[in-house]
Each structure stands twice: as C-alpha cells, then as structure tokens.
C-alpha cells in the first residue's frame, strides 16, 4: 500500500526544475507584516530582560504570549500563502537600508517563501509548545523571567535567520541564535560545568561563524553583494573554484551551528542547560539552521559538485558517530543528544544529495522537530518526576508511575526508529531512497544508521520504562503536571500524524518546496518495495538486539566496563580529547610562551635599551675624576685634535 503512495509521488514529479526559479515579488497586504513575526518575541524579550523585578510574576505569561502571537501570525501568513499560486509565493519585505560602504550595499529585508514559511511554522509552533511546557518545568526557579526572556530572544533570532533575504542579515540572526544558546546553556550559572559548556558551545559556534564570514566576504569579492537574488542569479557566472570555496565555507558555518562532524563536540555538553532548552534549541530549531543554510544556498551547491560531496561525507560521518555515541550514553539527555546529532547527519546527507534530497531533508527536519522535541520533553518530565536524576541506570519500570509520559514517549520512539505509520518512517525512508539513488556506500551508511538508531532508542525505552526498578530516592516518581503533559500529547500527535500528513494530505511537502529547491529524481538501483522491506528488516533487527541485551537481562545499576568501542563512545569517540590535544593545549602553551616573549622580548628590548643607556652613562661618569689636571689633559688633547683637523683640512 505504501509503495503506491511513493510511486504516485515520483510520477507527479516535474522534470528537474532549477531551484530558485520563482522571482520574489514585493510583499503587499498581509505579507508586508511579516516583520511582526520577529517583532513579537523581540519585544517580549526586551520587556522581560529590561523589565526587572516588576515583571517577575507575569514574566512567563508574557513570554508564552509573544511566542503564541508569533505562531498565530505565522499561521495567518501560511493561510494567505496557500491562497497564492504555486510559484508566486515568495515575498520580500524591504525594511530599511542597512548600509552602503564603498560599493557594497545591504538592505535589511525579509524573504518569505515556502521554505522559510515551513521553518517559521516549525519554530513558532514547537517554540510555543516548549514555552508552555517550561512554565511547569521552571516553576521553582527564581530566575524564570530571565529564562523566558532568553527563550523569546532565541525565537526572534531564529526567525530573523530563516526570514532574512541577505546573507549578512541572516548572519546577524545566526550569531543572535548562538548568543541565545550560550545564555540558555549557561542559564544555571552557579554550576561551573554549565558555564564551561556554554563557553564551549559559543566558541565552537564562533569557529563555524568564521566560515560564514569568509563565505560572505567571498560572495562580496565574487558577486559584489551578498543579497540572495544577486548571489543566486549570478552564481553560474562565477568560476567553479570560487563557488566551491563559498560552498565549503558555508558548510563550515553549517557544521558549527548544526554540530556536524568537525565541530560536533559542543552538542553533548550543551545538555547542561535546562531540558526545554535542549528540546527547543538543541533538537528542533537551532541545530537545523545548518541544514536550512545548505538548502537555502541550493543554487550555489548545485554548481559545486565536490562541495556537495563534502556535505554528504560530513553528513554520513556525523550520522554514524552520533548513533554510536547514542548507544553508550547512560545519561538520558546525552543519549537523545547523540540521536539528534545522527538525525541531523541524515538531514545534511539528504541536503548534500542535491535537488533530489533538499525537500526530503526539510521534510525529515520537520518531522524530527516534532518527535525529537516530544522525546526531549518526555525525558524532561521523567527527570522532573525523578527529582532531576539524569542517569538511566537509576530509572526502570516507570511506565506504571508515569503513564502519559510513557505513551507520548513511545509515540516519539516509534516515530524516530521509522515504524511505518509514524512520521519518522516517511521522512527517513525518503532519505534512504535518495541516498541509494545517489550511490551505494551512502545508502549503506544510512541503512546502518537506521539500524543503530533503532538499537539505542529501544535501549533507552527499555532502561527507562521497563525492567527492574533501580530508583534510589525515597518517594516514588510522580507524573508531571498537566501544563507539561499537554504539550507532550500535542507533540505526540504531531509525530504520529506529521509523517503522512505532510507528505500526502493537503499540500505535499515536496511540491510545496519545489519552487524553492527544485526537484529531481534518479532511478533507484533496486525496486522501491525491496528497499523498503530491507530498511524495515534492519530496524526490527536493531530492536531485537536491544531487546536481547536490555529487555531480558536485568539492567545493572552500576556502570559495566564496556569493550573498546563502548568506552570510546562514552567519551564521545574522543572528539573532545582530540580538540583538547590539537587546539586547547597547544593554544594555552602558545599563549603562555607569547606572554613570556612579550615580557622578555618586546618589552625587554624596550626596557633593555633604557638600562643600556643607563649603564653607558655610569661608565662615562667614572671618566670625570674631578681633578683639574685630568681635565687639563683632555683639553690639551682636544687642542691637538683641533689643530690636526684644521691641518688635514687645509694641508694641500
């Protein structure tokens, strides 16, 4: 039954239509109010952060209000956009001219098209749910007002990122999001580990931003401007070398923000932040910014094949790394973070496959947004119940105590491992298809990834909700209050319905994004049905293995010594160790030696000349004996020299 659906989709696919075909038209009517989307949360953040003590009591309501208002505005815009024709859905809103320096002119303007519309809905939708959730979660925290201020700041920055129509304005949103994640990770500042994690996240993001800055600079060098329409229009004019360079720089930026392979070390430490933060920022929205950037720059990547292969390679590596790390983590949030990393690996891989994969990447991104947020919030309510106990070794058999959380968590679990009716199946399956269509090795990686995902997710489910009770604290875990479970339920429904809903009912996601990203279909190396069965078999195999190791045997409360792979996975496949050895230690050593050189060398040279002059003058001083007669000798010598000089000058 499912195969008919997919064949229908492929049949309706138009021929490979070049992305960005639709010209953005000046926004009129309701679209000219798009800037309100950003204004609401920004205003909310300003009120909350500058408000001071007075807004404490009503702080969280303002925060939620702003986010929900923005969501409502998003839905209104979505409805209006549906009314437009399929290919005239791109609108630019010109706000004000940012600056014009030496021929480089940038306007603060927004671009609302299908791609950014999807993102807006995801961000504001999931964002509002998480706002509501965190009312309950952060109830007893006295800095809650500041928390909601930062959340609003994040939503505003993320919206600016997805709505910007110029790479530089996007970069402002990009860094704003980095700042918000720094503030939110390090929200509990009294914990030194949180502060270190926040700093690490910001610095690694900053390394990625280096790539972005260089990308925009090269755009300026090559195209003379960094506006989307100029860059995409004249992309084919530039030399492939340049376009590849821009592609690679953008990839570096994306890796920084989406915790992809070279710059992935910060994501697992980012779990220090409160759970709603992990859910919103490090699962649903911010980490997907990198994918958005690659999909948005489709025009560039289409012209730079090796940049695309680089994206695929990075995606594949992160996919596998994340999955392996996910298997070995006992901390529930770190396990979920590992799974996030691998799912984003999927999306990057899909985005790297070119026009064929863009739509599926975004589709997976949306569904992932739903079920990963659901899983994280579920984990949050588990921790809330277990009085902030994080390690799964202390859980076990919670399904009786926390039924609602269990059910919603199960929905997310089934969605992520890709069981047919659930959302994950449709989006991840499409990516595996596209991967196999592209080439074998990538296909195998995605398949392997799906298997391992099934393994660690089942492990997580079993250790948390089934098996023997390993609780340590006195009173039994209690179910979270309704203000937390309601968003859980909504997200659970979304992660169930989201899959086929977006693909088949109403506006098909692929057709919806086609004008922006274009569409292309390669033929599959093997029949579709066979591929789908293989994926299902691998997934079930993963579940069985996990059930064998964790289901039947009782889970040990202490941490068992694992083999080499598990130990490596426990410390993030030595990602941190590598950074430490290659960058941190030499960096510190370089700094210390430079400080030494500065005090001795440069400063020494300057002070040295001063003391040298001093020494010289003491020697000269000894020459002045005070005796009149030694002065007389000098005078006579002087007379001799003068007479000699006059002679030498005069003597013919």
């Amino acid at each position: 039954m499912t195969s008919t659906f997919t064949t229908l989709a492929t049949a309706v696919a138009a021929e490979a239509e070049h992305g960005g075909g639709q010209a953005a038209v000046e926004a009129t009517g309701v679209f000219s109010l798009t800037w309100l989307l950003i204004a609401f949360p920004l205003l909310g953040a300003a009120v909350l952060l500058l408000g001071g003590r007075r807004t404490d009591k009503v702080g969280h309501l303002i925060g939620c209000g702003a986010s929900i208002a923005s969501f409502v505005m998003g839905v209104v815009l979505f409805a209006a956009m549906l009314g437009e024709g399929a290919t005239e859905r791109a609108f630019t809103v010109q706000l004000w001219e940012y600056f014009n320096a030496g021929g480089y002119q940038v306007d603060v303007s927004l671009l609302l098209d299908q791609l950014s519309m999807a993102f807006v809905l995801l961000i504001t939708g999931v964002g509002s749910l998480i706002h509501v959730y965190s009312i309950g979660y952060m109830e007893h925290d006295e800095r809650r007002r500041r928390f909601f201020g930062y959340l609003n700041l994040f939503v505003a920055a993320m919206l600016l990122l997805v709505l910007a129509s110029d790479y530089l304005i996007m970069f402002i949103g990009w860094e704003g999001v980095g700042l918000a994640s720094y503030l939110l990770i390090g929200f509990w500042q009294h914990k030194p580990s949180a502060a270190v994690a926040a700093k690490k996240a910001f610095v690694v993001n900053r390394v990625g931003d280096m790539g972005m800055v260089l990308a925009i600079s090269s755009m300026l060098a090559v195209f003379g401007s960094s506006a989307f329409e100029v860059v995409f229009a004249s992309a084919d004019g530039a030399s492939t070398g340049w376009v590849t360079a821009i592609g690679l720089f953008l990839l570096l930026g994306a890796c920084g923000k989406s915790a992809q392979f070279p710059l992935q070390s910060w994501l697992l430490d980012a779990m220090e932040g409160p759970t709603p933060v992990s859910a919103l920022i490090h699962a649903a929205t911010m980490v997907t910014a990198g994918v958005y950037l690659i999909v948005r720059s489709a025009a560039i990547y289409d012209l730079a094949p090796d940049a695309r292969t680089a994206v695929v390679v990075v995606g594949a590596i992160t996919l596998l790394m994340g999955a392996i790390i996910g298997c070995a983590k006992d901390d529930i949030k770190k396990a979920l973070a590992g799974s996030t990393m691998s799912q984003i690996g999927y999306m990057t891989l899909a985005a790297g496959l070119g026009p064929a994969g863009y739509a599926f990447a975004i589709f997976h991104l949306l569904t992932h947004g739903f079920f990963k947020a659901n899983l994280f919030l579920g984990a949050g309510s588990v921790m809330h119940g277990m009085h902030d106990e994080v390690s799964m070794r202390r859980y076990g058999g919670l399904r009786i105590m926390m039924p609602v959380t269990f059910v919603t968590f199960a929905m997310g679990y089934l969605a992520i491992i890709g069981i047919p009716p659930f959302a994950g199946y449709f989006s991840k399956d499409k990516i595996i298809e596209a991967a196999f269509a592209d080439n074998w090795i990538v296909g195998i990686c995605t398949l392997l990834g799906a298997g391992i995902t099934a393994f660690y997710m089942t492990r997580l489910m079993l250790m948390t909700f089934f098996g023997n009770r390993r609780w340590q604290q006195s009173e039994p875990p209690h179910e979270s209050p309704s203000v937390m479970t309601v968003p859980l339920i909504i997200l659970a429904v979304l992660s169930v319905v989201g899959g086929f809903g977006l693909l088949y009912l109403g506006a098909d996601i692929v057709d919806w994004l086609a004008p922006v990203t274009g569409e292309e279909h390669h033929d599959l190396p093997m029949p579709l049905a066979l591929l789908i069965t293989i994926t299902l078999v691998t997934v079930l195999a993963g579940v069985a293995v996990a059930w064998a190791t964790y289901g039947r045997r009782t889970v040990r409360a202490d941490v068992p010594a694992g083999n080499a792979l598990t130990v490596a996975a426990r410390n993030d496949l030595y990602g941190d160790a590598f950074n430490e050895a290659v960058f941190m230690r030499p960096g510190q050593y370089l700094t210390r030696s430079l400080v030494y050189i500065e005090n001795r060398g440069v400063d020494g040279a300057v002070v040295g000349t001063a003391t040298a002059v001093g020494g010289l003058s003491t020697r000269l001083r000894r020459w002045q004996t005070g005796f009149v007669r030694s002065y007389a000798v000098t005078m006579l010598g002087g007379v001799g020299v003068v007479v000699l000089a006059m002679l030498l000058v005069r003597l013919p």
């Binding site: 004996t625 005796f627 007669r629 030694s630 000798v633 006579l636 010598g637 007379v639 001799g640 007479v643 000699l644 002679l647």
Partner: protein, 290 residues
C-alpha cells in the same frame, strides 16, 4: 746679524727659566725663574721691533703680575713644596703623551711652513714710531675692544675684592673679650697673654723666641712664617743656662736631694732638644700627603 747672536744667547735663558719654573720644589724659586723667562722675552720683543711691548712686558707683566704672584705665594703657599710622587693614576703618562703630541704637531707645522727669510720689518707700518702706531690702533680701530678690556679690568678688580673679602659673620672679639676668654677658658699659665718676641735683657729682635717664666722659650711668640722659612733663631742659645753661681747653688742642692736635682736639670735641657723642628705645624701648607 746681531739679532741671531742675541737670540741664541738669550733663548737658553728663557728655556732654562721655564724649566726652572716647572721643576722648582718651592714656588718662590719657580716664580723667580719665570721672571727670568719674561725678561728674556721682553728683550726678544724689543729685538723684534716691538719696543712698546718689551717695555710693557717688563713693567706690567714681570713687574706687576709676577710681583702679585710673589705676594700671594708669600701670603699663601710659601712652605708648600710638592713631592715628586704623582697622585692621579696615569696622569704623567697621558700628560707626556698630550704634550708630546702638541709639540710634534706645532713644530712640524712651523718647520714645514714656508716663511720668508727676512721679515718685512715694521719700518713701513710705523712711520712715526712704534708707540704712535700702537696708539693710533688702540684709540682708532680697536677703541671698542679697548673700552671692553677696561671694563674687564674693573670687574676683575671688584671680583677679586669680593672674593677675598670675608664677611665678618661673627662678632669680632675685642681685646677685652679675648682677655676675659683667656681667663675663663684658657690655660692658667698663658692667662697673662702670650709672650712677645725678644728677650729684653739682651735681644728684642723678632726672630728670637721669648722666654717663659720658667725659662723655656715660647713657640707662640715667633711668626710661623719665619719658622717656616727657617729664619727663626734656635731657642736653646737663650734658654736659661746655669751661671757659675747657679752651679754652686745647684750642686749644693743636689747634695741635699739626690733625685730632685736632675729634675730641674732635665727640665732645662729637655725643652732645648724639643725646640720645634723646622716644618709646619698646624698651618703646613701643601705638606706632602701620602
């Protein structure tokens, strides 16, 4: 022709005079030998058709300035004789070097300079005599220099005056004060004032020491300059010599107190031996210092 003879006769005197100045131990001898050099130079001036300068040399330079020197030497450094030992390290060596250098330099210059054998002589330049010529110049072209030099001399004189004038910053003790001080602070034996030179019985010359009541000559009565110069007559010839009468009285005394006898005896001889040797006491100027 006579001039060369004159030159070769007189020039050794000049050089010897100069050497005498440098190598004389006592300043006075140096001053005199310098006077000799100056006079030979005066003769040379006159030989070189500069009679006015020759006379001025003798009158002003030798006559006034050298005498001023002698006067100051008397006042200040009559007994300061230098020792040959050089105190500043490396002074002699560098001095010799510098002087030799300058001498070589100047002599090569003068020897190599092509000078006319016969000087043009002053006849043509001084139609109505040397003095009139010089007078024209002084009060003609160089009158400005003349005025300035006059001012210079006056300032020099005033300068010397202020330098040597000693402001009495303390009350000058009058004779009455000294007398009071002598009784209050001085030693009892010289309370009656210092003895005046000369032994009235037979001598009142200034170079003869006065005798104290106990017969010993008093050092303080002789001007130390005379002592420095060695012109003071030794005192033992005046010390109370036992006359025959004394001897009898003395011997009769010795018979009575054996040991007492040599006491006065010793006392009278001893001062004689202790007569102050020549050489400065408190005011030795320039005594050799190690």
């Amino acid at each position: 022709m006579g001039e060369e003879v004159l030159f070769w006769v007189m020039s050794p005197f000049a050089v010897l005079g100069a050497l005498g100045l440098v190598f004389a131990r006592k300043a006075v001898h140096g001053a005199l030998s310098l006077a000799v050099t100056m006079i030979t130079l005066a003769v040379f001036y006159i030989a070189q058709e500069a009679p006015f300068l020759g006379v001025v040399q003798v009158v002003v330079y030798t006559g006034a300035i050298m005498m001023l020197f002698l006067f100051v030497i008397m006042l200040v450094g009559v007994e300061s004789s230098d020792s040959r030992v050089e105190t500043i390290r490396g002074q002699r060596g560098s001095a010799a070097l510098a002087v030799l250098g300058v001498v070589l330099l100047l002599t090569t210059v003068t020897v190599r300079a092509t000078l006319p054998d016969e000087p043009t002589g002053m006849a043509q330049a001084t139609p109505d005599g040397n003095v009139a010529g010089i007078a024209d110049l002084i009060f003609g072209t160089y009158v400005w220099a003349f005025e300035v030099v006059a001012a210079l001399l006056i300032t020099a004189a005033v300068g010397a005056m202020t330098l040597t004038h000693r402001e009495r910053i303390f009350h000058r003790p009058s004779q009455r004060d000294q007398a009071i001080r002598r009784f209050r602070e001085g030693r009892p034996e010289d309370a009656a004032g210092l003895p005046v030179p000369g032994v009235y019985a037979r001598h009142n010359a200034v170079d003869t020491p006065a005798l104290l009541p106990d017969g010993t000559p008093s050092e303080a009565s002789i001007n130390r300059v005379l002592v420095a110069r060695g012109a003071a007559r030794s005192s033992e010839e005046f010390s109370h010599r036992p006359t025959p009468g004394d001897i009898e009285a003395g011997t009769s005394e010795t018979l009575s107190s054996a040991e007492g006898a040599d006491q006065p005896e010793g006392e009278t001889d001893e001062p004689a031996a202790a007569a102050p040797e020549l050489g400065g006491d408190d005011d030795a100027t320039g005594g050799e210092r190690a």
